[in-house]
């Protein structure tokens, strides 16, 4: 079965640079979530989109922005990168909220390292 695809898997940037992470949800999933996970920590919710509109906002810094496109893929744009942004970034998708409570399905993440 198709899973959530994230790219790139690994990304190395320097301070003050920008980065773009991409997420391709499971087909027919219209809701996308972004999480940040530091070493040994639980995933922290950043932002979510439903039907191409921002749904909820968590602890996403103002330096970050995201959007969901017409094909339901999503991109997380990160600017003025800081050392503390080094983490695993996960994307998850779920089916339409109209179908009731549904689990999120996660991709394998992008490991972002800031030098």
């Amino acid at each position: 079965a198709a899973g959530v695809i994230q790219s790139p898997r690994h990304l190395i940037k320097e301070k003050r640079e920008t980065a773009t992470l991409k997420c391709y949800p499971i087909p027919r999933h219209d809701t996308v979530y972004w999480y940040q996970q530091g070493p040994g920590q639980d995933p922290q919710f950043l932002i979510s989109f439903y039907e191409k509109m921002q749904s909820d906002k968590g602890s996403i810094p103002d330096r970050f922005s995201a959007q969901q496109f017409s094909d339901y893929h999503s991109e997380l744009n990160m600017s003025s990168l800081e050392l503390g942004d080094s983490a695993l970034y996960f994307c998850a998708s779920s089916p339409s909220r109209g179908t009731g409570n549904q689990p999120q399905h996660f991709g394998d993440g992008t490991r972002l390292s800031i030098l």
Binding site: Y33, G40, Q41, D42, A92
Partner: protein, 110 residues
């Protein structure tokens, strides 16, 4: 979610024994809960879920128990196998999103 830094709580069990992983959640209004398994270098993998109108749900070798009175969730793994070694997270639904609890590292001893 709360962070426990670099030192996750660890549960060590002998292969073949049963494992019980516990989780306290924060929002008494949460109506949906999920257990995830996360292996090194991978994303969280769905194990089992439970809605708040239930207090127990069973899957293949796993059982989730929900105690709404004390806001407690547990995951029981029967006949633990080496492949069960991973970090386990509970997640509670908050609005349209999920809040993760601190993970527990399960180590299966031969």
């Amino acid at each position: 979610g709360e962070s426990v830094g670099l030192h996750l709580p660890t549960l060590s069990v002998q292969e073949g024994d049963n494992s019980i992983i516990n989780c306290a959640y924060s929002n008494s209004a949460s109506d949906y809960f999920i257990w995830y398994k996360q292996e090194s270098g991978k994303g969280p993998q769905f194990i089992i879920d439970i809605r708040s109108n239930m207090d127990k749900r069973q899957g293949q070798r796993v059982t989730v128990l929900l105690n709404k009175t004390v806001k407690h969730l547990s995951l029981q793994i029967a006949a633990t196998q080496p492949g069960d070694s991973a970090v386990y997270f509970c997640a509670e639904k908050s609005g349209q999103n999920f809040v993760f609890g601190p993970g527990t590292r399960l180590s299966v001893l031969p």
